[in-house]
Symmetry: C2
Subunit: 332 residues, 2 copies
């Protein structure tokens, strides 16, 4: 009785202040709870859209589920930038490493940053000498198991890349790519380099390939390390010709795994943009001796290896049900 | 001096006989040498014709380089005999095992022998009960690692078979074949069976398959043994439906290897001859409940396995450069 009377007799101001404080605390607590609830809302939305869960979340891509694009470039910066706008958006891409063979020329980093933000980091690796094999270095920025190597004039559709990456994951010790070539033995024992226009004597039905060119392919990053450990004669051959790094890689992989070096994935939408450069620079393959060099390289590598390690394959992989959903039916 | 005079004075006849003997011996020796040389000749010819070396020599086919055709037959003996005339000539075929489900009916062995000789042995296995799973027994006559299993109304070209066999040799633990199918999950959790006309929710580009039907496929003989060891409930399900032995095999293989059970090879020339039988008997798939049974079997097998072991794949394999030598090019 006395306590109640005592309380009731407190000055009104003090009572008011305590009530105010109490109310403030309640309101604050309610606001905090509301704030916590709003952070929960987007998650519930994601559950309703299963496709978004399947989309690549770059920040959580592991080294096994993503790949690094390594693109070497020389005198075709217009094509490079156009291609970067395309490749930067390909699913499962972790990072881009541009191997800058324009010696003494500034990398377009300021331009790149000014036109950000970008989906993935792009690293420009400035080179000191313009070497074809610069792109086969073991870049410390390379974090993924898979490398996607693309020439700076090749536009490969994201559909093709996503599928080929899934194929590489099933054949991780081989070069999985879009451009098949072969070596051809001749009666004299001298080898020659070519594509489907050449025939291998006595091989029965159809064609074979024994190399998959690395300039449009996925391969395991360890092969960059292996390549660095190749004999100096191999490196010298590539430097002498400014060519054949891909032939050398196929020799190396085939020797290493004891079977065909590559797996050919038939591209649905892949094209060469070299005619669209304003630099006037045509690709290396326009040099008069380019193809003769490649046959020359095969025979030199056979000497270095003291054997012909390349093996033939006639496996051609396509994507079931894409682009046309009944593409598995005969006569299609 | 005396010796020489003695010899010179020998009667002419004796000299003649000795000369005759000597000449005969020389001639005989020359003939033997010539005979030995002629046996050498075919070998040299083989060296000049590399294709003949690559041809299968049936008498020297090892268990790894050849396969056994297992063909089960019921009420379509006309088709069977026509197909045997085709399959008996396929390269790398070791033997044919015909699983005779025509209970009580005489096998056409006399006819077969009367129309010999034949390239390979054909064994008729007389069955006591007409069971779909009769073809999945472990036949003692089976000597090769690879089994080619074909339905008694399927005509698959030798080109397709030779290629698919070479593919199986690269994927020996999978069912390598020409007919892809899939299971489809639905919102209720109940599975359904189908082909490319069905879609798998939320799967992105293209189609997937999770089964390769065994009635037009290569697989490892060990899977016959595995199948015999399957739970009685699996055998009972197949007997109950007279169906689903192939679905059961895919469940079994997928569970065993922990990845997709089959590899789909796109056939170039494969056709069904069921309309051409004079027996009036249409295949099992014409039964009203055939397809519903297959969905039923999938759900039953999931119960038996207490899981869904089937895995999806979108790998479609074709032969590089066959039938058209530039078939790897885009838009073909």
């Amino acid at each position: 009785m006395m306590r109640c009377y005592h309380i009731c007799k407190l000055p009104g101001r003090v009572m008011g202040i305590r009530l105010l404080r109490f109310s403030s605390i309640i309101i604050l607590v309610l606001l905090l709870v509301a704030g916590a609830l709003t952070t929960l809302l987007p998650n519930i939305k994601d559950d309703k859209m299963p496709t978004s869960r399947r989309e690549a979340k770059p920040q959580s891509q592991s080294a096994l589920d993503s790949f690094t694009l390594i693109m070497q470039t020389y005198n075709r910066t217009d094509l490079l930038l156009r291609l970067l706008n395309h490749y930067q958006a390909v699913p499962h891409l972790h990072k881009v490493i541009v191997v800058w063979n324009n010696i003494g020329e500034k990398v377009p980093e300021d331009l790149w940053n000014a036109l950000g933000p970008h989906p993935v980091p792009v690293i420009f690796k400035i080179q000191t000498v313009n070497r074809m094999r610069n792109r086969l270095q073991t870049f410390p920025e390379l974090e993924t198991k898979a490398v996607l190597m693309v020439d700076d004039d090749m536009l490969i559709s994201a559909h093709d890349l996503v599928f080929a990456f899934s194929v590489w994951q099933q054949f991780p010790d081989q070069i999985v790519g879009f451009v098949p070539r072969k070596h051809v033995p001749t009666a004299s024992g001298v080898y020659s380099y070519g594509g489907f226009e050449l025939q291998i004597p006595g091989f029965g039905n159809g064609d074979q390939y024994s190399m998959v060119l690395i300039g449009a392919s996925f391969f395991n990053r360890k092969y960059l390390e292996h390549f660095q450990r190749q004999p100096a004669t191999v490196h010298a051959l590539i430097d002498e010709t400014q060519n054949c790094d891909d032939i050398a890689m196929n020799f190396m992989v085939s020797k290493h795994i004891g079977k065909t070096s590559g797996v050919f994935v038939k591209p649905v939408e892949m094209g060469n943009l070299e005619k669209e450069t304003s630099s006037g620079y045509s690709g290396m393959w326009h040099r008069a001796d380019h193809f003769l060099q490649r046959s020359y390289c095969i025979n030199k590598l056979v000497k270095i290896y003291d054997s012909m390690p390349l093996k033939y394959s006639n496996i051609m992989i396509s994507q079931f049900g894409f682009p046309y959903y009944a593409n598995h039916k005969s006569k299609m």
